[in-house]
Symmetry: C2
Subunit: 223 residues, 2 copies
């Protein structure tokens, strides 16, 4: 399957927040739920999306936008699930803003789509600073990165509605304290929903998917 | 041991490359070797520095600058080795430039120091775009992040002289192909020196330290 690649350009508009709000209005009109997925490089964004898509794709029309500086490795992986996917090349940019997300959605095409996952650039810093226009944002923190990450990258954990703690299968190999990690996340964001998962095996995906189902259904009722 | 924390400010000068060259001239005059250490969040920069410092601190005067958006977790860890350490708070900034590095060195004090490690902000994107003024730069890529990272974050692997592949102890738990990883790094940077290490156990640190010794000694002879 050939992967569509789009070279996106940085916004010339200063007011990213205004553009993000406008994009959310458009998503509401089109009935498309957009979820922004952020993490460090290699924390498991693509694997988590594959497992989530496989579990839900028969009931809802899903599409994925894969942002990367270069390569189309992730878009090729996602395309194997059979859902619509587009690769966004950021041309060296370290994050996505609302204008870049809009370009991606226009390139993807929103007809026949109900849920779009935006896999942001792997980076715990810059993506947190830009509202993409998504309805909600999640962060994936993986066990090998360590339980101190919410202390060092505060904004990422403040702006996310959900934190998935991934790679729980390797907990015995790492000095990672789940309770301490949850405490660090709650220090940054008391309202954050936290789900430990192992995207590779699928463990914990059900609880996360239940949150996402409730969230998308509640949004549809109010859209 | 109380950790000194410095709030650093972004450079007002556009010409970062000029400032970086000026900083290298100053380092040469002072006889101080500066090494820039970059990686994703949680790849093991601090643990690698601790092991490197422990193996070499009796022969050379080492100091460390720890850059983070927030917290002083890493500076506290480094301070346990007994070497001089300063925590640089970037105030949300995703990278260090030459001016910020200069502020750090001034805050640290270069008298009685022969080798300074600069632990950059955990980020595979932005730090690669800014010459810090360091003599050489290294990247640490950890096994759990995956062997495809040089494909997705090309600039980081282009600008580094050395790549340490860390956390080799967990190779059996991850789908990480060392040969493929080396091939991906060499695709970006044929001259890169690559050392597999396990900073936790100290395995492989000797080969990396041998490179660093040769490098610092050669630089001193020409400084």
């Amino acid at each position: 399957m050939d992967v569509k690649i789009l070279e996106i350009k940085q916004s010339v508009f200063a007011n990213n927040d205004r553009q993000a709000d406008a994009l959310r209005e458009e998503l509401k009109k089109q009935g498309v739920y957009l979820l922004n997925v952020m993490s460090s490089p290699g924390a498991g964004k693509t694997t988590t999306l594959v497992k989530t898509i496989e579990a839900w794709k028969d009931e809802i029309k899903i599409a994925v936008m894969e942002a990367d500086i270069d390569s189309d490795v992730d878009a090729r992986t996602i395309s194997q699930t059979g859902v619509k996917v587009i690769q966004l090349h950021t041309g060296g940019m370290c994050h996505l803003d609302a204008s870049m997300t809009k370009q991606g959605l226009d390139g993807l095409g929103m007809e026949d789509v109900q849920l779009v996952f935006l896999e942001n650039v792997g980076n715990l810093v810059c993506p947190a600073e830009f509202d993409t226009g998504a309805i909600k944002s999640i962060a994936i923190l993986s066990v090998p990165e360590g339980d101190d990450k919410p202390l060092k990258y505060p904004l990422m954990f403040q702006v996310c509605d959900v934190v998935l703690i991934n790679k729980t299968d390797v907990l015995p190999s790492f000095d990672f304290d789940m309770e301490r990690c949850v405490r660090h996340i709650k220090m940054r964001n008391p309202k954050a929903e936290i789900f430990p998962i192992c995207a590779k095996s699928g463990e914990g995906i059900d609880a996360w998917l239940a949150w996402l189902r409730r969230e998308v259904n509640a949004w549809k009722r109010h859209a």
